[in-house]
Symmetry: D2
Subunit: 337 residues, 4 copies
């Protein structure tokens, strides 16, 4: 039995708490902490069977009974809390991104070097049934050498401007998942990135210093060319598709829907929209990434998303930012590693 | 909190136990009984948090703490256990079919008349996301008056001949779900049934006195004509589709798959097979029927699948058997009610 | 070069005229006849390059230059004109049905026995790309032994009551195509037929002595069970689908659409309706059946749809009529052959 | 009746000849010319009803009876033959590209200024049923303002290296169709282009000075961002898809297939590959572009693909070449207009 403490009880912290308490048999959440822990959240946690609820995450770090922590707090806390947890000998699951600054991620990497702690980064989409199926087809060689990868990743609605200001921008907040996905699907690191972007949806996003529509081309070390298209507002719902084209064929996955119902009327043939957003679309992947993390601890094997996997998409996001700023392709080697 | 006892810890009993203990917050399984309770099952039940494990279901019936029972034992026990449970004031969820004999089901109906017990029958497909979507489209009037209903229902592999002998035959064992579905989708009772059947898969099924392939036409009281096609062996997996055609259009649902992956190669375009069998395909519906049952108890409202809904498909199955035997359409009124 | 005369210049006669003059290189329409030949039609025929236009089809029969005739006139004339044409040594392509009376079709069969004339019946759907693909999959053994065949065949709108009165009823007018299709796909003759039907669309159809909605079950000599569902009014367009299920798998085909466009909006995902009716849906099959007929003449090989293939669906239609009338399954052997 | 002469009787010249002689009622091909006219081609042309067959295209230019010419000869001849034809007062349909050099295209533009000749460029995909449906959805405002356009355009097999050497490179030979398509779908001109490309398929293509895999990002004047992905070798067939995403939704079209057959077996669910190559996929669009050209002449209205529409994609191709060469985004204004 792996005893877990959750640090940060916002939306994603709660998702993990519920997943573990209802669906991961060999793990148990012993404690949850949040600096703004409300009575409601505390009660909810207790109803799930979580015995200890704290304002101060350090109580979790110090708790000898706890084997592993999930860091679900705000991005700026990911690195310091990771370091404290590793120092205390805890295994760490950290939500993405570890940090916006590669130097600080490297501090975590260094801390892990002299430690036996497991470290997993929250790139949950690697655990999604559809993307897993693409990866499997690629790994089995069914499409041969990878030539082109296409990722469509569009949110149903933009976050509030206040969030955008601290998000690090679309490339570090949203595209970062897609950067991880192309690394996952190609099994290669990025070499060069060219980003094209516009504000087409909301002037407030421009005022917050960001863009809302982007097309990013990434050349990988292995020769594959990847292209990601992002929008902050897809009115028909969360659009999450991928395609890998290679020397022997092509594999693609589409969106999930609540049902396969097709209604034919005098007006046309209607089917359902994609599931609305990430909580609907990826709920199972959140469960499966935690199961995988727990299993890595139990079986003492490497986690499926390493701290190195956490670093690279941040560097890719920084390269994309620079590319957009300077209007030129940027080599990954230009970004500190 | 609704306290539940499960009677019969075979495959479906275990499904319900796990669903409730991990996914139904306002219910708890206090006890489980099975005449052949193995050590392994008992241990598994305890690991889920089920405190009491019995050989004798009467211990559950007598337990004052228990509000409701799930009857998951063999079909021949459904009626007597239902009667005992109702007599003890328990709410009852009973797997389908209640019985092969309408007279015995009527005993349950009569027992319920002088009781405030809830009674729900395990026609889980009514809770499936796809069939729910069809029902919703019909109820919203999007396809107008219902003219034709088509149900495809094919199992991936036949049960063992020993099971077939006690199953009541394909119509009471397998088609019974489809009979329920056409009642659910049309909102009408059957008027006349014509069954056509053959043994095309396995001589052992013939030796067991049954058929393995059937097409059944059902005229409903409201004029709709329904057709069900069944096979005991669909090599590509569990084939579960429905279509309702009416004056304003048509709604159809297809099979669920593990992923939406499509692989295009020199040999063609491949996608995944349907999910293998009912545990894969209908797992969520098993959870949702139990949630609905618990909610009916909590809110003191009628269950979504009444004892009457349990009786009619049995009568339809008997009519289909008679039709096949005599080679003629059989009116439902010929079957005892 | 095969010289052709067309007898009957209604809608389907014109389709064949245009197909041949623009798309069948080794054939030429020398003459067209229609008792009600209008000036407009005559002019249209001449603009296509058809040199002779007559009121009296006998001029075509007598024309020594003409090798083959297409009989596209009203059903009651099919048999006498066939007999005259065969007597004059012409090859004959005859629209379906040859006749409503098997005795008269047998006259044609007898006339052909002492003749070297080719005779093809207009079951054009056998030449449709989708149904051909189903047939190919079946013939290649990809689905193994055929167990179940399902045909959906729904018209977008009913014909006028006046037409219905002389049509022979839905089974001889509309279902006859589906009866041919199940013979084509199974490679077997029918053994027993049970028809279920209602008037659900229009009282005028009832007044004309017909039904508008039908589900017909057909047991084939080879054990396969087929089911056909028909409606005279599918508001979303011509619904023409087929499915063959067997011991090794299942093959199905859907409807053709004008484009593959899918539009996702806040209201859902829309795609196009099926092509509206038979002229849109089957235009290529009309061309291909004529090409096949011309080729049978050129290469002196049997036609792809023989006079025997013309007789059987008529018998099946008569069996279905009797089944509906008497409310019982009818053996094909009860119908004169 | 529009009298037509075809200059160049290679593959595409023959396609047009057959289309017109069999499918365009108000046009007639009076003459065909090819410097390497074979006996076989001449005979084939005569069998179609084309009376005059020449080695020297000037006989067509000089023929007073001829109203319009189709220029289907090699690319280097497009401009001089266009100029001669315009000088002789002929309407011109010219295969793409008009020329690789904007200056020479401008000579054609200038010649047209003082002429009443119609001029249409052979961007046939604008007439394809699928792309038309996308355009219609965009024009009707169903997807709102256009934000992102995605074009997938992959050939089933590369042309021979000898052809590649004179082709002008992938951007002027293959991507040029996609450049036209994004102009057509967005209704806007390009502003800036960034091309990423590799040789991943065949070293011979590299030796011929070209690439075989490309991803091209194009920013349009109206703010839309477009991305095109190209491959010279898609083993599963011609892959021709498009998607337009905007403020109110998304419209996409997929590939055409020979049938809608789906075969489910123990190995998975199989459907057909896309149609093999452009002659299969776009045959109807070749017919429809010529019908449109003939109609522009008959009704004296502008052609649907103007000489300006012929110039812009060439400039875009040159910008893409420069971008690839210099590894930077190139503004269209850098390319001579």
């Amino acid at each position: 039995m792996v005893n877990i403490g959750i640090i940060g009880m916002g939306r994603i912290g709660k998702v993990h708490a519920e997943s573990i308490m209802t669906g991961v048999k060999s793990a148990c959440v012993l404690a949850a902490a949040d600096p703004f822990m409300t009575g409601e959240t505390a009660e909810w946690a207790k109803s799930l069977g979580i015995e200890n609820v704290y304002d101060d995450y350090r109580k979790i770090i110090k708790d000898k009974q706890i084997d592993a922590v999930l860091i679900c707090s705000s991005t700026d806390t990911h690195t310091p809390v990771s370091l404290e947890a590793i120092d205390a000998g805890k295994h760490v699951f950290c939500e993405k991104p570890i940090d916006h600054d590669p130097d600080r991620i490297n501090e975590v990497i260094n801390a892990l070097k002299n430690s036996s702690c497991k470290y997993q980064v929250g790139f949950n989409r690697r655990f999604d049934h559809n993307f897993r199926a693409v990866k499997k087809a690629v790994d089995e060689g069914r499409i041969g050498d990878v030539h082109i990868v296409k990722i469509t990743s569009r949110d149903p609605e933009p976050p509030p401007p206040a969030y955008i200001k601290v998000s690090g921008g679309i490339f570090l907040d949203m595209t970062i998942h897609d950067f991880d996905m192309i690394r996952y699907l190609t099994g290669s690191d990025a070499k060069e990135i060219y980003a094209s972007g516009e504000v087409l949806i909301d002037q407030a996003i421009k005022d917050a210093g960001d863009i809302d529509t982007a097309v990013v081309t990434v050349k990988m070390e292995n020769g594959a060319i990847c292209v990601i298209d992002n929008s902050r507002k897809s009115v028909y719902g969360y659009d999450q598709r991928a395609e890998v084209f290679g020397s022997k064929g092509c594999v693609s996955v589409g969106n999930d829907k609540a049902s396969s119902a097709e209604i034919s009327t005098v007006d046309g043939v209607y089917s359902e929209k994609p599931l609305w957003f990430f909580l609907e679309r990826y709920i199972q992947s959140y469960r499966d990434e935690i199961k995988s993390f727990v299993q890595a601890i139990e079986l003492d094997k490497p986690t499926e998303v390493s701290v190195y996997d956490g670093l690279q998409p941040v560097r890719m996001g920084l390269a994309a930012k620079l590319s957009l700023l300077e209007g030129r392709p940027v080599k990954l080697s230009e970004i500190k590693s």
